[in-house]
């Protein structure tokens, strides 16, 4: 029983063009040497040749670095608040990696918790995700340790696997099915294609060699939580910049600020980071003034607190924090060197 | 650059309280006329002017910034104006490289007795700024 489809790589342009009737399309593009998700220009599909992953995760499409929350004006009758009209236009991300797609599923938990977030969720609900399996993971990747197969994903609508000149297409959701039903260039996949895809997935899984041991990690972190010596040693070289958190696909902390220019006001929310001392600063004290406390917070939030709250580790092993770190601070080394209580 | 009819440059002046501010005061008392384009912030010394103030003023949409202090050797705090001189020189050159017209960053030495010089400086600077046109560096439409 063959259900999967396939499409020639050369037909990707046509496919995206068909979809662009309905969606704003985002694809990986290189801007000044940095791979980013950009609005598709209608032509460039070169990413199939060079694309490994984007420097910024896809979260920026749902939870941008800075976004307007609402605006406000003052007149004779007082203040008026104008909610911003949300952009209802449907969007489509082509080529999201399984790690980044899982990260969105993890982010959903926070943004749905208690009160639904009125900025993130509408964008999320309006977005179609076309996953593309990794064939060449980075040496910093450790997704397999977090239950992610770099070649597979159920967190997307369609999942593509690179099988040479073609992509094998798996329909994951109903939305994905409909998209494929309407696409003109899609063919039925053969048994050979399926076999090829299985090989590709297996190979890419095996290419991920960096590992962490997540078995009992929550408990291990709990037991060394108060071990100040350990955390001081681990955090010594950290320079407290925001790279690892800003580029992390599961980090969601934000700041809220007002700007008032000639009686026209706007409230913004923007990314914030637990690496910055001001993040927790209160007038009289700061619970995380010391660097080791902030590093501990970052590690524990992902591997201890998030699992306590939502029963899932808030890390997908994308390796950006290792790859982009100015001082090569490596979370996998930290996690693999947790002191075990004797 | 398109200029609106009747556009007048907005100039922000940081004046040392010991000299230039008094000079401006004197210009006022002696009913000397100078362009109303300048808004004045009194500072304890021209050395108090952090280049950040200058950048912030440009960010806020001022067309030019004037830092005015005591003549070399006359600083109330001995060396404040010398320090200001270095900072402003660097700021002016650096911002020029970034793409800000150098005329937007101005400096002068005006003593407490030079009401006349103050009016001249403000007039000249205003004239220069008129030639340069509005500062749209930080607006979205440049």
């Amino acid at each position: 029983m063959l259900k999967n489809k396939k499409i020639s790589k050369r037909a990707i342009g046509t496919l995206l063009n068909e979809w662009s009737q309905e969606f704003t399309i985002f694809v990986p593009l290189r801007e000044r040497g940095v791979a980013v998700l950009s609005k598709w220009d209608g032509k460039d599909t070169s990413f199939t040749g060079w694309y490994r992953n984007t420097a910024q995760p896809a979260k920026a499409n749902f939870f941008p670095p800075v976004e307007k929350m609402f605006s406000f004006q003052k007149d004779k009758e007082g203040y008026h608040i104008e909610p911003l009209s949300s952009d209802e236009h449907k969007q489509l991300i082509f080529g999201i990696r399984p790690c980044d797609a899982r990260a969105l599923t993890i982010l959903d938990m926070t943004f749905k918790d208690l009160y639904e977030d009125p900025y993130y969720l509408p964008k999320r609900n309006n977005m179609v995700l076309i996953g593309l399996g990794c064939t060449n993971p980075y040496d910093s990747c450790f997704c397999t340790s977090l239950g992610i197969n770099p070649g597979e994903s159920t967190d997307v609508d369609l999942m593509l696997t690179d099988i040479g000149d073609q992509f094998l297409i798996e329909e994951i959701t109903e939305v994905g099915k409909e998209l494929i039903a309407k696409a003109s260039q899609v063919e039925e996949a053969t048994e050979a294609d399926e076999a090829e895809a299985r090989e590709v997935k297996k190979a890419s899984y095996n290419k991920v060699t960096r590992k962490i041991d997540t078995e009992g990690i929550k408990e291990k972190l709990l037991s060394c939580f108060e071990d100040q010596d350990f955390w001081e040693k681990v955090s010594a070289k950290c320079i407290s910049c925001g790279i690892c958190t800003f580029l992390c696909p599961t980090c969601y902390c934000f700041d809220i600020n007002d700007e008032l220019v000639r009686k026209q006001g706007t409230r913004f929310r923007s990314w914030d980071s637990c690496a910055f001392p001001v993040y927790t600063k209160m007038p009289m004290e700061n619970p995380r003034l010391e660097k080791w406390r902030r590093v501990r917070q970052k590690v524990c939030h992902k591997f201890e607190f998030y699992p306590m709250d939502f029963d899932i580790i808030a890390c997908v092993g994308c390796g950006r924090c290792i790859r982009q770190c100015p001082v090569n601070w490596d979370i996998t080394q930290t996690l693999n060197s947790l002191p075990t209580r004797v | 650059m398109k200029q609106e009819e009747g556009w007048e440059p907005k100039l922000l002046g940081f004046l040392c309280r010991w000299c230039s501010y008094a000079g401006a005061d004197l210009a006022g008392i002696s009913r000397k006329k100078y362009p109303a384009n300048i808004k004045i912030i009194k500072v304890p010394c021209s050395g108090r002017v952090d280049p950040l103030f200058i950048i912030k003023a440009l960010r806020l949409g001022f067309d030019g910034v004037l830092v005015s202090g005591c003549y070399p050797g006359d600083c109330h705090y001995q060396t404040g104006n010398y320090r200001a001189q270095r900072r402003i020189a660097i700021t002016k050159k650096f911002l020029e490289y970034i793409g800000v017209e150098p005329q937007r960053i101005q400096a002068s030495w005006v003593s407490a007795s030079e009401g006349g010089k103050f009016t001249e400086v403000v007039s000249e600077v205003t004239k220069e700024l008129k030639e340069v046109g509005p500062n749209q560096s930080f607006t979205d439409g440049r």
Binding site: S240, G242 | K56, R59, R142
Partner: protein, 321 residues
């Protein structure tokens, strides 16, 4: 001297310093967790000193850790780092007697971004990178290719005058001749200087629209040692703490002016930028301006007053009315 020999000497020096209690900490480099990377090693433990390395990838300017380390420190320093140390001494952020400098004569470091661009491959896809004199050999897919050193060194290394550290207690190896390319070193600045003012502004505006305000450039910079940076001030609020190009650009302009005369052109800000913003085209220009206006180079003389606290009554003031 070979890197291997230098390393052995370094291990010995570092271990002795700790053993004899001359320093409380050693700050150096150890092999990083990714290919062709090193990572700072900050340790009190004598046994750790065997992990210290010297190779063409010791990129970090370790002097950034000095103000935060409590006690005496033995630090591995290249020329640019040693100048940052001198600059920190000038600013009274650290005391000379609290530091033992293990100087590395540095013939320039390999810029992996340039290598990646040259080969169209990412760092982790390369098999080997070695350096011999004025050639760098890179092995990819089993094939070795030669490149002139000047093509793969960091831009700032290409502009580095002299390989030996400015200030040191121990020198690990003999300084060899530097391979420089002054023109290539400031090629991007020259390009900018050649275009109109408006174009230059638009260039920076575009570049800074990508900035995410991670502050890596600031935090990695030894010259940015303020306890509280102006971007964190709220009364008055100098700029919005969010990544909009106006605020990003303002932040970087003010930062550059604040570190004028302290920046030693170590190039760390540009290297760490995750958005590839050419920050050195700002810092290097400032470095040149300072030199041109005041004949001052940062971190050359530990007894000289810092640039912005000093003056010469005779200085040119032709721009002042």
């Amino acid at each position: 001297m070979e890197d291997r020999e230098r390393e052995q000497k370094l291990h010995h020096e570092a271990k002795t310093l700790l053993e004899q209690g001359q320093v409380d900490y050693i700050i150096g480099y150890e092999t990083g967790s990714l290919k062709f990377t090193t990572t700072p090693l900050i340790t009190k433990d004598e046994d750790d000193t065997d992990r210290l390395v010297v190779n063409p990838f010791i990129v970090n300017n370790l002097s950034v850790y000095l103000p935060e380390v409590r006690g005496k420190a033995g630090i591995v320093a290249k020329r640019c780092d040693s100048r940052s140390i001198v600059s920190l001494i000038q600013d009274n952020k650290i005391a000379r007697e609290d530091i033992v400098i293990m100087g590395i004569p540095c013939p320039g470091l390999i810029d992996l971004k340039k290598v990646e661009l040259l080969l169209g491959k990412d760092r982790d896809e390369l098999d080997n990178i070695t350096r011999e004199g004025d050639k760098v050999m890179i092995t990819v897919d089993g094939r070795e290719r030669d490149f002139p050193t000047t093509e793969v060194l960091f831009d700032n290394c290409l502009g580095c005058e002299f390989p030996a550290p400015q200030e040191y207690d121990v020198l690990l190896g003999e300084p060899s001749l530097s391979i420089t390319d002054k023109v290539a070193s400031r090629a991007r600045i020259k390009e900018l200087e050649a275009v109109s003012q408006g174009k230059r502004w638009n260039f920076w505006r575009e570049e800074f629209s990508r900035c995410i305000r991670c502050y890596a450039c600031r935090n990695v910079c030894p010259a940015c040692f303020c306890q509280r940076c102006f971007v964190e001030e709220t009364e008055p609020l100098w700029l919005m703490p969010m990544p909009r190009w106006q605020d990003n650009l303002m932040f970087q302009l003010a930062r550059n002016i604040h570190v004028a005369g302290r920046c030693t052109d170590c190039g760390e800000c540009e290297r760490v930028c995750p958005m590839n913003i050419p920050l050195r085209s700002l810092t290097r220009k400032m470095y040149e301006l300072v030199d041109e206006l005041f004949q001052y180079q940062a971190g050359m003389d530990k007894s000289a007053p810092p640039l912005l606290t000093a003056y010469e009554p005779t200085e040119a003031e032709d721009f002042i009315r």
